[in-house]
Point group: C2
Chain length 189, copies 2
Amino acid sequence: MKKSLGPKTLVYPTPVFAIGTYDSLHRPNVMIVAWAGICNSQPPSVAISLRKATHSYGNLVRRQVFTLSVPSEDHVQQADYCGLVSGREMDKFAATGLTPTQAEHVDAPYVAEFPLVLECKIVHTIELGLHTQFVGQILDVKADESVLGPGDSLDIKKVRPLLFAPDTQSYYGVGEFVAKAFSTRQPPK
Amino acid sequence: MKKSLGPKTLVYPTPVFAIGTYDSLHRPNVMIVAWAGICNSQPPSVAISLRKATHSYGNLVRRQVFTLSVPSEDHVQQADYCGLVSGREMDKFAATGLTPTQAEHVDAPYVAEFPLVLECKIVHTIELGLHTQFVGQILDVKADESVLGPGDSLDIKKVRPLLFAPDTQSYYGVGEFVAKAFSTRQPPK
C-alpha cells in the first residue's frame, strides 16, 4: 500500500553538480545544484535549475556559459560548503582550497580537483517558477585519466559521484554493479 | 591532467525513471527515461526528455499527464526491458508481469511494484533537438510504507533506486552514507 507524501521535489537518485561561472569582474565562483540532469542527446545538453536570488544566476545570464564539475566522495565537505554559502559573501575557491581552472571551450572556470567536467554554452533559458532552468549544450567532457577505464570509458566506481537525498538531507555514494543495460529484448521471467 | 572525451551526454549520477501513460485507447504503457531530473521547487516539478519517435511521446502530447515510478534494484530486469521495447509492439505490463495502477490525481498508470511514484501534469513542453522536454508539475508523491523512515522520510537505502552509467551501459545501486548535507558554514579544513 502506497502512502501519499504530498507534492514534493522528491526523486532518487538526485545529483550533486558544481556549476562554475565568472562574475562581472571575472572572479570565479562555484555553486552546487541538485535540480539538474541530461536533457537532450542531439545536441548533447544538460539542464540546471537555479533560483534568481543566487549569485551564479546573474553570472549565467550575463555570460551565457558555465562548467559543470562532478565532485567525488573525497570532496563532499567542499561541495557541501559551496552549496551553503553565496559567492556574494565569500570567495568559495579560496575558502575551500579548490582550484579554479579556465575551461577550454567556454569562458568559465571549472574545479580542477573534481574528476569529471562538462563545458557548456546556454542554448535555452526557461522560467519555471521559483527556479529558472538553463539548458547548456555540452561542448566537451573532460575527465581525470585516473577515472577512465578500457577505451577511455568513464568508470563510475572511480569517479565516485555523490548522490543527494533531499528528504533526509544526506549524501550517499555509488554502490555495487547491478546489471548490464539493454541486455535482452526477451521479457524477464 | 584531464583528458578530453568530446561532446557527450555523460554525467554521473543519471537516474532510471519509469514513465507511465495511457495511449489513445486507454491502454497503459511504461517506458524508461534517464534524461530527467527535478527542475523546480515551486511549483514542485520534474523534467523528462523523450524522443518524438517513442510511443510515449504521443501519449504525453495527447493526455498532458504522466506518472514517474522509481524502480528498485529488485526490478532491474523489468526496467531494462521497458527501456528496450516499444509499447507499439508489446504490452510491456503484460510481458513483465508488472501491475498498472490508476493514479489518484492524473489519468495515467503507475507501476504498483515500484516503491516511489510521482503523479504529474505537464506544464511546459520544450523542443530541444532530438529530445522534447516535458516539465511535469508534481501533484503528489507516493511511496511504499516499507521504504519510509522516521517521520515518513524517504529512506534511499530502502528505496534502492538504480543509477544508469551511460558510458558503460550498466546499472549500479546506491552505496553507503557519506555525510549530512548543509552541515556547516565554516570552510572545510
